[in-house]
């Protein structure tokens, strides 16, 4: 069995174990852990689009909202009918939730396709603006659709999200992105990012890579949205606005575009930091803004963009030996 698959299964098992004992844990810590997991999925999926494929997308929160609304609609409306009055057994609820998440993810993937295709010809600034525009369009549409709650959004969403689900999908997201990019096929993403014209010249279908990146990224964002909805139990259209997209973008940039371990670290840091700094909460967005500016000026490769290969080989060789 390939190492990565073993790692994935191990992560899922660990998540299950933690979830099992979750009622012994402080609910606040559990809350933060769940938040971290959801942000990891969001950051890693955006990293595929922004970091590995070089498509600067500012509309990721839009995909998240599609997933959140779709999955919540399923559990709220189909749930009672499928599970009956008793609420169903844990297994039944789990299956319903899984189904809802997958449908949410698929819906978001379709949205990703809808956004990706028109954006193919655009680069840099224009692409950023168009993705921003799509995110806003999605928000306005949800705000106006009464069936999905309109401005009030959906509430009373069943509390299905657990550490198990979040970290299993988190592991799956990391697994997918890493395997995708480090495969022979996956070189195409990096090539598209580095020099699109040269890639086309050597016969790579950059269009396909860009679309795949958008669709896969959107799928996981949708799943994250579904997990978020069943975690916060209330979702409104305004919660998935440009500010949310930017928060995810900051994680990717802080971690280093195209650097999965860095992005994961950044997601963890940027979820825990606001909790720790609750007393200075009003400065949070200003600090984010300054962080972006300073990062670009001083360390555009991200804070956590270490040369992992070099570190790994140093560790293997052990300290004390000459570096040559």
């Amino acid at each position: 069995m390939p190492r990565s698959l073993i790692a994935l299964l191990a992560a899922v098992a660990a998540a299950f174990a933690v979830s099992h004992f979750s009622d012994r844990l402080d609910p606040y810590y559990l809350d933060v852990m769940t938040g971290v997991g959801i942000n990891i999925i969001l950051a890693v999926s955006l990293n595929l689009v922004n970091g590995y494929t070089g498509q600067f997308s500012l509309g990721h929160a839009g995909f998240m909202s599609v997933g959140a609304y779709l999955s919540a609609a399923i559990t709220l409306m189909l749930g009672p009918r499928l599970l009956g009055d008793g609420g169903g057994s844990a297994v039944q609820q789990g299956l319903l939730f899984l189904g809802a998440l997958l449908v949410g993810g698929l819906g978001a993937a379709v949205a990703g396709l809808a956004v990706g295709i028109p954006s193919l010809r655009l680069k840099g600034d224009y692409l950023a603006l168009v993705t921003l525009g799509f995110g806003e369009i999605i928000r306005v549409v949800f705000q106006n659709v009464e069936a999905l709650g309109g401005a009030l959004g959906l509430n009373g969403i069943p509390n299905y999200t657990t550490v198990f689900w979040v970290y299993s999908f988190g592991a799956l997201a990391v697994f997918t992105v890493v395997c995708l990019v480090h495969s022979t096929y996956g070189r195409g993403f990096l090539a598209t990012r580095d020099d699109e014209i040269a890639s086309e010249a050597v016969g790579l279908n950059t269009t396909r890579y860009k679309i795949v990146a958008f669709v896969v990224g959107a799928f996981f964002a949708g799943v994250a949205g579904g997990l978020y909805g069943h975690f916060k139990l209330t979702i409104t259209p305004t919660g998935f606005d440009l500010t949310k997209s930017i928060e995810i973008v900051v994680m990717v940039i802080l971690g280093g575009m195209g650097n999965t371990p860095g992005v994961i670290l950044a997601a963890i840091l940027l979820t825990i930091l606001p909790e720790v700094l609750r007393s200075v909460e009003q400065y949070r967005m200003i600090l984010y803004a300054l962080l972006l500016i300073l990062l670009m000026l001083l360390r555009p490769n991200g804070l956590f963009n270490f040369n992992y290969a070099a570190i790994a080989s140093r560790l293997r060789r052990g300290p004390g030996r000459a570096r040559d």
């Binding site: 809350d31 106006n144 401005a151 509390n159 916060k232 209330t234 909460e281």
Partner: protein, 378 residues
């Protein structure tokens, strides 16, 4: 080199350290509050918080509750979605609060309510008016009226006092409060024989309402109902007057802020809105409250949010006294039994649905001030 600590003194130190904390925390009764102190709705959150703070300070100065002082733990949700849920968990799990106060906006109350319900910690909202909030569960209360009542009261006022039979309704689709209030108004107004001749919509943050108002002007109505917030209401009144629309404009409790007159100027003179209290009502409890508030906060006159914030603490503390306990279920039962509690915002009785059955006050803008017009009983 090291000399290890002598075991006995070390053990004593450790024991004292471990037991000292619990001793101290038995002193104060902790009450949590989550509010929008910064961000888009900072005005409402800050006002409500001031009222809450004043009440807590006053109660502590008078000796506290059950012989213990109240410790108010306030957290800011920055008017953002998603924060209130985390704050509620933090207040319950880490700060071990006995009850939670919050919030002004129904959207954010709906986030924290399921958590308070699940952990059986009573939640008292000072001014969330959407009916759904208390429907979450039997641990969720509010000390204000609901939009259902407010919409009906406004319909009654429009028909009986303003003598309007054809009305235009201008709703904000991005605000659950606005949509809800409009719905209840429409239902009652039509049921009483009136006609909602035209409905127009806008989004929060909009600045230009000329298009909607031009359409309303062409519809020949006798009044315009604007169930939104003062930020847009002020501009709507201004642009309506500029377009030559002279008919009355009126709205709900979202209109109440001094900025209404700052931004609206002349245009808001003669407009009406409903709210939960008026600083001009000449009863001792209101007079004293206004005086205390002004003394504490630099001469600022308390608005409805502040008054409700104040009353939410008073009602909660009264329940704690009656329950003679700080356990969640006991406080809950006492809250549900609240009857005829005399507060700043009138007499509060908590009904079966855990809403407060209270009168609405109609105020009018006259000479740059809010003036009391009439009260509408439930």
């Amino acid at each position: 080199m090291f000399r290890p600590l002598r075991p006995l003194p070390a053990a004593v130190l450790v024991a004292v350290a471990l037991t000292a904390r619990p001793l101290l925390s038995q002193e104060a009764i902790r009450i949590g509050e989550y509010a929008s102190l910064t961000g888009k709705e900072a005005a409402f959150g800050q006002s409500s918080h001031k009222g809450t703070l004043l009440a807590v300070e006053e109660i502590n100065a008078a000796g506290g509750v059950l012989g213990r002082r109240i410790e108010l733990i306030t957290d800011d949700n920055q008017s953002k979605q998603g924060e209130s849920a985390t704050i509620a968990k933090k207040l319950i799990a880490r700060d071990k609060v006995a009850a939670i106060l919050g919030e002004v906006a129904s959207m954010r109350s709906l986030e924290a309510a399921p958590i308070c319900q699940a952990y059986r910690i009573p939640m008292v909202s000072p001014s969330s008016t959407n009916p759904k909030v208390t429907e979450i569960g039997n641990y969720v209360f509010r000390v204000c009226f609901t939009d259902r009542f407010q919409g009906q009261a406004l319909a009654k006022f429009a028909k009986d006092t303003l003598k309007i039979r054809r009305v235009a309704v201008l709703t904000s689709v991005s605000s659950a409060y606005s949509v809800g209030l409009a719905k209840y108004f429409d239902e009652r107004f039509a049921a009483d024989g009136g006609l909602v001749a035209i409905e127009q919509r806008y989004t929060e943050g909009d600045k230009d309402f000329n298009a909607q108002l031009t359409a309303i002007k062409a519809a020949g109505v006798e009044g315009i109902f604007v169930p939104g917030y003062y930020t847009e209401a002020a501009l709507i009144c201004k642009q309506a007057r500029e377009l030559g629309i002279g008919i009355p404009l009126f709205g709900g409790d979202g209109w109440e802020a001094p900025e209404l007159m700052e931004i609206g100027g002349e245009a808001v003179e003669g407009t009406y809105y409903t709210t939960h209290y008026s600083p001009q009502i000449d009863v001792p409890v209101v007079r004293q409250f206004v005086a205390k508030f002004r003394a504490r906060f630099d001469g600022e006159t308390p608005d409805a949010m502040a008054a409700l914030g104040f009353d939410s603490v008073e009602v909660l503390v009264d329940a704690i006294r009656r329950a003679d306990s700080t356990e969640g279920p006991a406080i809950r039962d006492a809250l549900a039994a609240t009857k005829d509690f005399a507060g700043v915002t009138g007499t509060t009785t908590i009904d079966r649905d855990r809403n407060a059955s209270k009168a609405a006050f109609v105020l009018m803008v006259k000479d740059g001030h809010f003036r009391f017009v009439q009260s509408i009983a439930p």
